[in-house]
């Protein structure tokens, strides 16, 4: 929803959905991750997007950087299979620190390929 700022052409200045459309036009394979539900304190609101291409380039965010890595690796599979996936992240135990939300919240992320 951000207005592209004239003179700034960095990909990050585009909102994820506009960038996804541009990537598709460039012939890249693209997956979109969307926060569909949150519990407790979650860093990004429901509806937030992260877009990922087949090479692992990404833009946007579904958390404050806590679980993006995991979403990006799942995206590779979604891009190759074409099957959407539901991902859930939260702090359940100490091991969750690796791909969890340190803020203690829980989020559900829907990951799908653009076809």
């Amino acid at each position: 929803m951000t207005t592209p700022i004239p003179g700034q052409t960095l990909d990050d200045q585009l909102d994820p959905l506009t960038l996804a459309e541009r990537w598709m036009a460039d012939g890249r394979k693209v997956a979109v991750a969307t926060v569909i539900e949150t519990w407790g304190s979650a860093p990004r609101p429901v509806g937030s997007h992260l877009v990922i291409d087949a090479d692992g380039n990404f833009s946007g965010s579904v958390s404050g950087g806590c679980v993006e890595g995991a979403v990006i690796s799942e995206a590779a599979e979604v891009i190759s299979s074409g099957e959407p996936k539901m991902l859930e992240f939260g702090v359940a135990d100490e091991t969750a620190w690796q791909v969890g939300l340190s803020c203690g919240g829980k989020i559900q992320v829907y990951l799908e390929r653009i076809v």
Binding site: M1, T2, I5, G7, Q8, T18, V46, G47, Y110
Partner: protein, 243 residues
């Protein structure tokens, strides 16, 4: 998601048209609903509610589990006065997602050199806003403290129920402004909506700091709107700096 849907959604967003992207979490199917499209049944009720609240979320409708991602137009910020504060405020507000327009009839101030990457109009507000009237999704920031320039857009913003109306000026300046606006027929509730002195009280001194204080106040008005019926005329906090 279908590429054609994504293209249609992005087009709607560019045209400032409210839209919902609906995803069936059961089968992964999706469709685009534009505001005003007829939708019946349980889903129609859920869609109407989602547009009203502008909140995305999961709904159960007609036996299906659906995710409604609501896209409403991005807020606008109209800045009256191409002054030093505006030079800092305009890029900050753009970064925060606002569509910004800076207006000043004084051509000495409104120069592209001072505002290189901003929609700048060197004209009187009444003419500069003809193509883009102030609406409820607009924040009006008046920083010339010249009644000839500020009063018309302030009146226009208050009548349009703009989500934020702020005006620069000392309490004395604002006192005279209140008298003029009252004489012009605005009521106490409307005039009480004007944030004056403008900006959150964070002790801001430099133009850039004042810009931060203004932007923070605008964001608060956007994200934590108060019930207009309960809104009280604002009284400046004691000890706040006079701007």
């Amino acid at each position: 998601m279908d590429l054609q849907l994504l293209t249609q959604l992005n087009a709607a967003r560019r045209n400032r048209q409210a839209a919902i992207l609906l995803t069936d979490l059961g089968d992964g199917g999706s469709r685009l609903i534009l505001k005003g499209d007829p939708v019946t049944g349980d889903l129609g009720t859920a869609v109407a509610k989602a547009f009203l609240s502008a909140r995305s979320g999961i709904v159960e409708a007609d036996g299906q589990r659906l995710f409604l991602n609501v896209h409403v137009p991005s807020p606008r910020m109209v800045i009256i006065g191409a002054v030093h504060i505006s030079q800092a405020l305009a890029p900050m507000a753009q970064m925060a997602g606002f569509d910004v327009r800076v207006i000043d009839p004084r051509t000495a101030f409104a120069t592209p050199a001072r505002f290189s990457d901003v929609d700048l109009v060197a004209d009187w507000p009444e003419d500069a806003l003809e193509d883009q009237p102030i609406d409820a999704f607009t924040a009006l920031v008046a920083v010339t403290h010249d009644p000839k320039i500020d009063d018309w857009p302030l009146t226009s913003a208050l009548n349009a129920e703009a989500f934020y109306v702020g005006a620069l000026g000392s309490r004395k300046t604002h006192g005279r402004r209140v008298e003029r606006l009252t004489a012009a027929g605005l009521d106490a509730r409307q005039i009480g909506r004007i944030a004056a002195p403008i900006g959150l009280d964070i002790g801001a001194q430099s133009p850039a700091e004042i810009a931060v204080a203004i932007l923070a106040q605008v964001i608060a008005a956007l994200r934590r709107p108060t019930d207009p019926a309960q809104e009280q005329p604002s009284s400046p906090a004691a000890g706040s700096p006079v701007r």
